[in-house]
Point group: C2
Chain length 366, copies 2
Amino acid sequence: MISSMKVLSRALPLSTRGRPVSDYVRKIRTLDHWAQSDSSLSLEFQVGRFALMVDRRPLVALNNDKRLMNLRILEYAEMKRKLADYGLSVDMASSALLDAVENSTGDYTAVFGSSLRTAEMPDDSPISIDKLRSQLAATLGGSFVDLRRAMLTLESDRDRSLLAKMHSLTRWSRIYRRCPKCASALRMRASKTAAACMSCDRVYYPTYAPVAICVVSNRENTHALLIRHQGTVNTVYTAIAGFANMGESLEETVRREVAEEVGIECDSVEQLNMSQSWPIPQGSLMCAFRAVADSRQKIEMCADELDAARWFSREDVALAYENTIRDPQLIFAPRSDEVQQELKYIPPQGAIAHRIIKHWLDEKSS
Amino acid sequence: MISSMKVLSRALPLSTRGRPVSDYVRKIRTLDHWAQSDSSLSLEFQVGRFALMVDRRPLVALNNDKRLMNLRILEYAEMKRKLADYGLSVDMASSALLDAVENSTGDYTAVFGSSLRTAEMPDDSPISIDKLRSQLAATLGGSFVDLRRAMLTLESDRDRSLLAKMHSLTRWSRIYRRCPKCASALRMRASKTAAACMSCDRVYYPTYAPVAICVVSNRENTHALLIRHQGTVNTVYTAIAGFANMGESLEETVRREVAEEVGIECDSVEQLNMSQSWPIPQGSLMCAFRAVADSRQKIEMCADELDAARWFSREDVALAYENTIRDPQLIFAPRSDEVQQELKYIPPQGAIAHRIIKHWLDEKSS
């Protein structure tokens, strides 16, 4: 384990002599070096590549059939020039280290994520902030879209992971300015991977909160228990999820969350081989589970969190899955209050909930 | 998912009418209510039961054959009286909510964990602090032992989970006194499950860091790659582990940590159905994995972290496992520098590393 307390002072462990390690190992060790050495990373900034968020909205380009999207990645010089036309600029303080990509010389180029904010427009401005952002996006060859929408409909998992990292790290670095223990200033690492107190020397790391998410089926495995959160589209149901409490195993998290949210006791909790980073409401690590419950138990829903919790048949879930595949942006999801008990959609493919529901659909009934 | 931002204001979701929920659900909802209502929890304090740490050392009692131990759980009144004889006292500020146990009236009694510190003894005191703690422990019917030793040799997983929770939450609550964003005072919840800024209203939760821990085998599945950390006993080898970085899936954490620590590229990363809370260096959620690597790759060890990294045969690992079962406190583990390349022990049964190494031993070679 990389000792969490030693990391700031750790030197680059890469031996450059002897048999070369694999490209993957070389990349990982390069990233580790950059993450810890502010001076090395600063040399990469002006030759780096950039993902961009403006006002929490990532810059994306729609793919060919316009159903899914990709993160738009920019070169430093071009991005700088175009942002300057709009009075914006990127610097290391607003950027986090995201990745490394091999370049034509066989070396690595750093990928940064920069999160900028536009200034408020004066009331008598002839142009709206939305219009301004649209113009900027067009100049940069893309669009700024809602963060959640991007997470749900980015085409590749790599882009999703970069976006989760970009939003979570830049958000964390804006919050962690003072030592929670002694209130002295924190010195933030350029990569945004740690912050050290300038007075008491404590080191803080980005808070990555583990979450368990679970499809609960009945014993016969013919039905799944799905829920709808308050404030979500009326006919879109998803799996039960919740943050791990300190001291719990993830299996205990599943059992507790199911009890808290729907008043049901479940068992046979089984971890699936899937996890995913998610940036909303803040950096979370979603870990996928399956469980079983006796469906004769009465559902006692936590009414402060949920609008609905119901058992749905495999056939109903399969139809909702098909609808979601055809219409991943949920544009045609029925929204009226009359249909709110009906299941018509599940979350789009970018959500781990989609994958574990699909996983359940692929299981056989017992 | 319990929305992390709403939790402080959430009312008790428990419906007391209708068909009663199961005992487990009732317990979970009672705990949830206490976790969020300081006034309700304060009513439980003087009728609660208590686990105790003094100077970071938990109070335990050895079991009958003296090889394993149990947390000593105390009644409030007796504990208060005995602590007072030593000039110590417990209060809500030094205590965290750990659990609920059903009592004789069919209701629930809260279990707290209190973490106290003894004062420094004056230089000319006729009694040492160790002696004083021993006397106090004897009065309380147990011993104060090293935190890691207790985690490794507590008999039950429930005790281990309570101890991890007690140490992690009381430690966190001592650190989070000021808002990292605005430096105003934080109002800590009595349960120690959240702290809210009194000025900017941000809410902070105990930081529970996900860690991946992995046994890497060769393709033939005849050998496992085990490591020895700096500062640990010379002949005790363990599995590779490390904190998840923001944006990673746990599978990516495994691949990165193995590359960083030993310079090896692994694949076939598979999550095992095991996770465990661990309080050192701070609240961590250990998630178990298996992976495979080509053993012809050269090991390039991260010398700042590790003293050794080697492939060991199934037979050697089995012998080390047997030694550890016979001597779970590693009392007879060889410690001299001459034997430091030899594998004689693995971590004791309380560590998830022990369980995943045992899991590997139970697999068949391919």
